[in-house]
Amino acid sequence: MKILRLLFVGCYLSVAMLPLIWLLLTSFKLREESITVHAKYLPSLAAEVGPDDPYFRANLDGYRQLAAVYQGSNHSFFHYLGNSLLIGGFSTFCSVLIGTCAAYGFSRFRVPGSKDWLFFILSTRFLPPLAVVVPVLMMYREFDLQNSYLGLILLYTAFNLSLAVWLMKGFIDEIPTAYEEAALVDGYTRLQAFVQIILPRAASGMAVTAVFCLISAWNEYGFAMTLNNQQAVTVPVYFAGLQGNVQGLPWPQISAGVLLFVAPIIVFTILVRKHLLRGVTFGTIKH
């Protein structure tokens, strides 16, 4: 029985990992060796390899050429990576900050209609992005935000807010009120108590929340594509834009870029693996 179970897990794992391993291998290939009828799956340092060999000439060309401007786009990959970092970073900071404040408010005060407000916050997550993208676009046109960094930052902040509030409420509910009460008796103002007593104790929860917000802003594609076509283009939009190229796709470069782009996500996944369940279910399930 045990063997069968492990065999099942092993089979699934190897099939599931195949595309990721192939991604890694492709990023070290030469362009002509990335699309061969006989798959080349073994790296080799030899100068010459036969067309039917399983060997490919391992090299870093894919990574080097990322700095070059590819036909059909205005900048190199790194420019778009910078855009993604800027937009993802800022929106994450804002979501966590605003979300933590709101979570504290809902956790510690009797907000009139708090159940309804929390339900409203949760419900925004179910909204299909495409249902609001058109009116948002029209709205952004009025305020001249449609090609700007600010436009996407605002949108991602709002988009991640429901997750941030729900996750942070779970974390803050677990902090005993005794600490703040003591601080308030000592003459702290409410804001001082929040900043000096609560924030340090909620820091690990904020870090976890930040990781989830960053990942969803980092991965977002629908809004980024429809609201921007010149300035604040993020990496997913850049990659998707390469598709229509007549010369065929430079797979080693794409693989190298994809790998650099998803590497931080893989690191973060490892870091927050214990909190994954909470993150994907909005903190509605606690272990």
């Binding site: 179970r5 492990l6 699934y12 192939w22 510690r108 925004t124 495409l130 058109v134 308030l184 994907v280």
Partner: protein, 298 residues
């Protein structure tokens, strides 16, 4: 109760929760109201004058076959994707109850796909699934199977999108299934062992019913997500492929390729009603789940 009553400072709570609520109202509620207005107009993406056309857009949606087709494609997609993910994910979770060395590593590796950017990874999947030089077909050939044209054959396109979706989201089902399985108290199994119940009976009478609440939650979360599927379809086949045109892809096509904002917003309302219907089931479900748990706790 964790709450501290602050009588004279009633404004301070709004100071804490206000910014979040204002932002959500500005970015979600206002656009929704705005789009109701737009859905009754003939507004165009390029701008210019627009006028009210009454219910014409809605009439058009229910008359035009393309929209019904997209609805069927999406329903089929949601049904197949969610059930495949549920079976595979729950199966994996059951298998992972076994203790073995390196389990944490395996679990973490299994979870990676669901954290990746769909639009970017789907582009790479096109290389993996390519009919002529894709690694997937070469493996099939090695095992002696036929090598279909996954991306270009109209009968297989939807299956390709499904395959990538299942690859991405099976870990999600596995994660929640694991949580559900681990929450079953050990003494129930011990009692069953004393009664000499068969493995199958234990599974049917204990494991499955005790997992159902959380599995239901997972199914509903995934279903609302799959209903919005856009990124994979865009990357793998493009928005205007009749074989894979989901609701979201059709909406994108209507607004951003054809420029018909009025029609697109009307369409987004039809989608919204579907999502709200699913979400309300979800929330009612969560309430009953909570009530159940409180009863057990008592």
């Amino acid at each position: 109760m964790n709450q501290i009553p602050g009588r004279r400072r009633d404004w301070i709570q709004w100071g804490f929760v206000g910014p979040a609520l204002l932002l959500l109202i500005a970015m979600n509620v206002f656009p929704l109201i705005y789009s109701i207005v737009l859905s009754f107009t003939n507004a165009d993406l390029v701008g210019g004058e627009w006028k009210f056309v009454g219910g014409l857009n809605y009439k058009f949606i229910f008359k035009f076959a393309k929209y019904g087709q997209a609805l069927r494609t999406t329903a089929l997609f949601v049904l197949l994707a969610v059930s495949a993910e549920l079976v595979l994910g729950f199966g994996l979770a059951l298998a992972l109850l076994e203790r073995f060395r390196g389990k944490t590593l395996v679990l973490t590796a299994l979870m990676v796909p669901m954290m990746l950017p769909q639009a970017v990874i789907a582009l790479f999947w096109k290389l993996v699934l390519n009919g002529n030089y894709g690694i997937f077909n070469q493996l099939l050939a090695g095992l002696g199977f036929r090598q279909p044209q996954w991306i270009t054959d109209p009968d297989l396109k939807l299956l390709s999108v499904l395959l990538v979706d299942v690859w991405m989201w099976t870990p999600f089902m596995m994660l929640i299934s694991l949580a559900a399985l681990n929450a079953i108290p050990g003494y129930i199994y011990e009692a069953a062992a004393i009664d000499r119940a068969s493995r199958w009976r234990i599974f049917r009478r204990i494991t499955l019913p005790m997992c159902t609440p959380l599995l239901g939650l997972a199914v509903l979360l995934r279903a609302t997500d799959a209903l919005k599927q856009f990124d994979l379809v865009m990357a793998i086949t493009g928005p205007n492929d009749p074989a894979t045109q989901t609701l979201s892809a059709l909406l994108y096509q209507a607004v951003f390729r054809d420029g018909k904002v009025g029609l697109g917003t009307a369409y987004s309302y039809v989608i919204l009603v579907l999502v709200i219907a699913l979400a309300s089931i979800f929330l009612r479900y969560m309430d009953s789940l909570q009530a159940q748990q409180e009863e057990v706790a008592r």
